[in-house]
Amino acid sequence: MTAPLLQVRGLGKRYPLPRPHPFAARESVDALADVSFTLEAGRTLGVVGESGSGKSTLARLVMALEPPSAGTVLLDGRDLHALAAPALRQARRDFQMVFQDPYASLDPRRTVWRTVAEPLEALAALGRPERRERAAAMLEAVGLNPAADLDKYPHEFSGGQRQRIAIARALVTQPRLIVADEPVSALDVSVQAQVLNLMQDLQDRFGLAYLFISHDLAVVDLVCDDLLVLQHGRVVEHGATDAVLRAPAQAYTRSLLEAVPRPLWQHPR
């Protein structure tokens, strides 16, 4: 039997707080505690919870952007946090990230092709023409026009097109896992629909797994096979999306569902 693509075991992150006064003992806060799950290739796991529930901390630990205080992150059986820096840099081709704000996540002084090809720079074997070619192929895959768009700058694109560029950058190394932190919550509704459709098409085409962080339950219901509900850094509920949203076992999950706005005419106040 092969190992699951992503296996997270007992993951925790503790941040120190400033001392209340010079002689006080240092206190700390558990941003994440004892989180475990697995994610198979080609599937989507949604992570939901309020602001401060630890969603983004989980993303940063899975992306090996900072070390955990406890636990392990195994990608294809390799412990990412045990890798030496050069090995981790090589391993990053297998897992990439898409951020919330496509205005902040693209370098305004870089052309689109250099932005999209950037993750390839860590893979020393590729020359410039080949990197440009791969960037063009990815732009095409996300529905942009490589012939016209490769040498443009981010300001020439709308928010939805920028998020497509960010997705092309995440895909250019042919990763197996994409960590997406609120990838559509800054987008208008029709653009959001386009990006959600694109992410699902790309998953079918490339067999991607998504760790999909969102506070929008309608969005996670649409794209996620399974859900992880976080509260104060701990998993309060974990299961198939249908089960979690249609028959929530925990009061906290029910409170998230109750926060979804309901029309005045169905729910007189």
Partner: protein, 329 residues
């Protein structure tokens, strides 16, 4: 005419022309609506449709070189002709404002209490002690926990939801007739979003102020406003009771927005319907219906001139030649 006989806010054929790299371009192209005292109206539409520009025009905060046409009357007083000083007297007094990003709306180098006291001292002439007492009452009114301590807190010491409560307290300080809320909860998670919007509903009921809510979120509109105006290309394309707009969806753009919206209960992997193309830039705005290039029902007539208003039902208008041709989805 007496004040009671006219709506609180009457906007007629409002136009705003902005200077752009392509020369002056019309950004609002004839927006008309009315808002009664204590009533609620939502403006919905995508980026670039003119929602926020409408709000800025209502606050006299348009860019310096913008040209304004048409009329904005607040309780009978014409606002488009006001000078800066007169606008400054109105803003924060009769018109309160809540914006999307509470961190940028608050001044990081002033304490919370002083920021709430500022409009009270400016518009109401309260002295320092009286303004501080009133600021405390307002913080308690918006249910900020530990309000007394928080008077002396700095904005960075509060969470996003707490900051938005402070912004609401500032907006309410002088008991405005009209509250403009431009995407007030977009930066907040769903739970905080509901708390803040419920608070606005409650404050509106208690004070009798009118609410103009701007949001791209249709679900928020359904839960919080009685009247809904859908904007596209600098115009209102459909306007009516929120429930009627939700159920009839007379304008093809309204239908497109609804179809693109993810809804709880859609099967995993469903592809959402999208609206082809994108919102035209100001200098690319077609001469007729602004939506024609993205609309499946459009024909030569649509491209000739902006469609006139048609009545879907009493109080429910649409600007579309072909609205009746297709049943709502």
């Amino acid at each position: 005419m007496t004040e009671a006989a006219q709506p609180l806010l009457q906007v007629r054929d409002l136009t705003v022309t902005l200077p752009t790299a392509h020369g002056p371009q019309a950004a609002l192209r004839g927006v008309s609506f009315a808002l009664e005292r204590g009533a609620t109206l939502g403006l919905v539409g995508e980026s670039g449709c003119g929602k926020s520009l409408t709000a800025l025009a209502l606050m006299g905060l348009l860019p310096d070189r913008a040209e304004v046409g048409g009329s904005i009357r607040l309780a009978g007083q014409e606002l488009t002709a006001l000078d800066d000083t007169a606008w400054a007297r109105l803003r924060g007094d009769r018109i309160g404002m809540v914006f999307q990003e509470p961190m940028t709306a608050l001044n990081p180098v002033h304490r919370i209490g002083d920021q709430i006291a500022e409009p009270l001292r400016l518009h109401r002439g309260l002295d320092r002690a009286a303004a501080r007492a009133e600021a405390l009452r307002l913080l308690e009114r918006v249910r900020l926990p530990r309000a007394r301590e928080r008077l002396d807190a700095w904005p960075h010491e509060l969470s996003g939801g707490q900051r938005q409560r402070v912004v609401i307290a500032i907006a309410l300080a002088c008991g405005p007739d009209l509250l403009l809320a431009d995407e007030p909860t977009t930066a907040l998670d769903a739970t905080l979003q509901r708390e803040v919007l419920d608070l606005l509903d409650e404050l509106r009921r208690d004070t009798g102020m009118a609410l103009l809510l701007i949001s791209h979120n249709l679900d928020v509109m359904a839960a919080h406003v009685e009247q809904l105006a859908v904007m596209y290309g600098g115009r209102i394309v459909e306007h009516g009771p929120t429930r009627a707009v939700f159920e009839r969806r007379a304008h093809p753009y309204t239908r497109g927005l609804f179809a693109a919206r993810p809804r709880l209960g859609l099967a995993r992997g469903t592809r959402l319907a999208t609206i082809p193309g994108r919102v035209p830039a100001l200098h690319e705005m077609p001469p007729g219906c602004a939506f024609a290039d993205r609309c499946a029902l459009a024909d030569a007539d649509c491209r000739r001139a902006a469609p006139p208003v048609a009545a879907v039902a009493r109080g429910h208008d649409v600007h579309c030649l072909h609205w009746a041709r297709e049943a709502p989805p």
